[in-house]
Symmetry: C2
Subunit: 546 residues, 2 copies
């Protein structure tokens, strides 16, 4: 029997940080950064039956009852995603917005029927993949005047339907999670190799809807690049693009759905581009005395046309917080992989660039094929995998532990980095009255700029934790937008980023999106408040003509 998903954090019940790692994390934060938790008694989440859930405001009609549930565990599980405010509210027992119904469609006809019902019942429908949103994308706290909320959980539409090894492509259902789809691709000798940190508990449909960023630090960074065609169910009908390796016929229909975050339709299937399985690999690590110096090496590698699978830098604070360094250096990880040919010539050149920029080798890729599992590179890798478990330890202790990420062109990067890092530090001081730990890494790198990824930790007041988080979030988001970045490179917009998304997006494009939604979702039932602010049928906002 499969383990049940935790409602209060990452992964399944029984999974989490071993006691040793937990102690190490708290000790590092406390001794290294002066961030102390508040031990206020029992920090374990309450049993399901002690959570006060409002009675469901609506019941599914008989024809849909068999795919729907109102079980308390299901309603609790689907009340939140994996964001910091979600975590705070979970431990505060704030479940008043729990979905009234959780539906598990088995096919497109089920989805269409659910949409029909939701439209008639004036209920909101929140598409839900793996529930891993860190931006409130699946948190059904929707506001507006709806008679109830139905969460549409795609996990029963999880099959790999076709594998075309000749074209290296596969047709996969939207609800397939990372491990499920890789397991089905493996016997055919191919792999999607899209490994977001959420890989275990996120779905292909979710990745496409949120423009997920994966394993590849260059080239195929977003799932966007791996999408050959998309099929989606909207309240107005099915929309499916032609399966093509490339096209120049008008604006791309796929690009309307990629990043649509459940606001325009539910992605039921996609043809995606898969890869041959990796047969050749080389990974190396380099230590730099300074983050910006390492950034220079990333820039040159990114502009060299080498296309490494990985080219990431992690600053000293981030390494220290995660027990992978003493804080005195920045780590740069570079790796190449190929299903076809040895990658030594590629790695040789990248190494030369790193050395030219003053990097010192951390582990030797030439003599040790397992170098990526050793040294600081290995320690960081280990920490990266466990990281999602940290929050359930920290939130009950009143320690805020969050991340935000962006992308910026190289010419503006240095100023952006200083301004945003300082804004985060200042925000923590202002919100909590204490110093926190702010760190930065690059999640992805392009020839024209990096995708900086910031993390911060700070001690909050147990009572005001949500407000303190909001203050910090607003200040860092303002800094990201004011300094020219994007409010998200791959975490998506969700509910948490909507105000800054509206600042970033060209206003006329916002109008077009509102009109797209008015047509595809005329009753405004799909994930209300995400991307298009509070849509109402027939009430598309009018902009003054300029």
């Amino acid at each position: 029997m499969a383990k049940r998903l935790k409602y209060w954090g990452w992964g399944c019940e029984g999974d989490g940080l071993p006691a040793r790692d937990r102690e190490a994390l708290l000790s590092t934060l406390s001794r290294g950064f002066g961030i102390h938790g508040h031990h206020t008694g029992d920090s374990s989440p309450p049993p399901i039956d002690e959570i006060p859930l409002p009675p469901p405001r609506l019941d599914p009609p008989a024809a849909l009852a068999s795919m729907c549930t109102q079980e308390p565990y299901e309603r609790v599980l689907h009340s939140f995603g994996q964001s910091q405010p979600d975590s705070i509210r979970i431990f505060a027992g704030d479940f008043a917005h729990a979905p009234d119904v959780v539906a598990y469609p088995r096919g497109e006809a089920d989805i269409a029927a659910l949409m029909q019902w939701a439209g008639e019942a004036r209920a909101a429908l929140v598409p839900y993949g793996g529930g891993s949103s860190v931006v409130g994308g699946v948190t059904p706290d929707i506001g507006g005047e709806y008679n109830g909320v139905v969460t549409l959980d795609m996990s029963r539409m999880n099959r790999v339907l076709e594998v075309d090894t000749e074209s290296r492509a596969a047709r996969i259902q939207g609800g397939a999670r990372g491990p499920e789809l890789e397991a089905a691709l493996k016997p055919r000798g191919v792999t999607l190799r899209h490994f977001p940190q959420s890989f275990q508990h996120s779905t292909l449909g979710g990745w496409i809807a949120t423009r997920s960023g994966g394993h590849f630090a260059t080239l195929y960074t977003h799932i966007d690049d791996l999408v050959e065609s998309v099929r989606c169910v909207t309240p107005a009908g099915v929309m499916e693009s032609r399966r093509l390796p490339g096209s120049g016929a008008g604006p791309s229909p796929d690009r309307l759905l990629i990043g649509s975050e459940g606001a325009l339709g539910v992605i039921t299937e996609a043809w995606v581009r898969v890869q041959g399985r990796v047969r050749h690999k080389a990974a190396a690590g380099f230590r730099f005395p300074d983050f910006l110096q390492a950034a220079g090496a990333v820039r040159e590698v990114s502009q060299a046309g080498l296309f490494p699978a990985n080219v990431r830098i992690v600053d000293g604070v981030e390494l220290a917080v995660n027990g992978a360094g003493d804080g005195s250096f920045t780590l740069m990880v570079v790796s190449f992989e190929s299903s076809d040919h040895p990658v030594d010539a590629w790695m040789d050149r990248a190494e030369q660039i790193c050395l030219d920029h003053g990097g010192l080798p951390d582990a030797d890729w030439r003599t040790d094929p397992g170098a990526h599992l050793k040294g600081t590179v290995g320690a960081w890798r280990e920490a990266f995998i466990k990281m999602p478990y940290n929050r359930e330890v920290l939130t009950p202790l009143g320690i805020i532990s969050d991340t935000f990420e962006s992308a910026i062109t190289w010419d503006r990067f240095e100023a952006f980095y200083h301004a945003v890092r300082e804004a985060a530090r200042e925000a923590i001081r202002e919100a909590t009255g204490r110093e926190g730990a702010v760190s930065c890494r690059f999640s992805h790198a392009y020839p024209d700029g990096p995708a900086p990824y910031f993390a911060f930790h700070c001690a909050a007041d147990p009572d005001g934790m949500l407000d303190q988080w909001r203050t910090i979030k607003a200040m860092v988001s303002d800094a990201v937008i004011d300094n020219g970045g994007t409010i998200t490179h791959h975490h998506a917009v969700g509910r948490d980023h909507q105000p800054w998304y509206e600042k970033q997006r060209p206003p006329l494009f916002g109008d077009v999106l509102a009109r797209a939604k008015a047509h595809l979702d005329p009753k405004g039932i799909l994930n209300p408040g995400v991307l298009v602010p509070h849509p109402r049928p027939g009430a598309v906002r009018k902009r003054p003509r300029r």
Copy 2:
């Protein structure tokens, strides 16, 4: 003083095929393929003042007069693009649809003023870059009930405004032609390296509006991949996206404009990604006995993660028609280039793949750095550059010479190839009662499929040439769509592909596009009939709910 553009074909007055090439072309078609022209007297185009032009139906208001012209040469020049039907109509003297006014805006305020006037005057506005459309995209034969047509020629907005060498990006005006923008980038040590066949006489704005396909056969195939942000003027105002190396904030605003073909707005500026200048290059040619065998080599190279700048195959007929082969073999061209590192390891591996698939070296890249200028590769390259001049020779002789192109996944490629090639042959027989020459090459190649590019030549009846072309076009377009391809990989939709584009495009996406247009261009003045069929203000088509 700059030479004047020809109104009847490619390039400037005085440019064209030398007599020797002209004779060789006609001789090849005649002796090699039994395609004989009709020598019906003088085949030179009539002087401008002998072309019957209707009087302009509207005059610009005084405030706009200085940027507008109604000169016969200008009206004639802007009456057509570079398509086969355009050419037939030019030599038939069919200029009844000439634009009434040709406007040369010098800035965005001029464009906004022209839009304002056109809206009030109920005139259509046809954005015009270099006029190189081969699909009727700039042919102002618009139908519908307009009081006149204004062609908006962007050639005075042709500057490179900023070069950011750190991020390798440049801000360039939409009206900048290929040579203009490369000349401005060169002193800064960078290059866009987007070289469509139309490079000399096409513009950045046109490339973006039509999703132009460039020099790179893999990876950065379409201009899409080089766009960092877009700025465009619409009748509803200015729309400008944030300049970012990557983003995951909602559906991409740029992707609405990339491929919008002048129907949603006029692209006035874009930030584009430039490259370091090429310092290392290797190019090789291989001969294959069979086109499909060569296609197998292209597939393996494309799936190997090598990302060659060029990986193209040209079949025997195409080589023979262009005097670059005896018709007995297929040529495969492979090249790598880099601004950073020698590319020998890359070329070694690609060569091995070509040899494994039965290719025989055409010129030796190892011993001769100029190999790409020699052998069949050099001959093909030479012919490719001159190719656009052929048509002005052939049309007056009643010889149809046209191309169409598509993209298809590898699993369906072989069936697609046979079906489409046979459909083209059959179409020529049906339309003309004679055999023609049908050839195929790959213009671009992706891991999941190639972009096949077909050319055909046939003798038509001097009187029925346009109808015969239409019959052939319809039959081959049906075959492309029925066999799963895209109606265009990089030629765009224009007016010629609209019926098939509507078959290919998801209907709901067509609705969204119509709504986007209704908002951005409420009076329906922009390039009417392109992408959105005959828009009328306030009359967005209603689709039955499914």
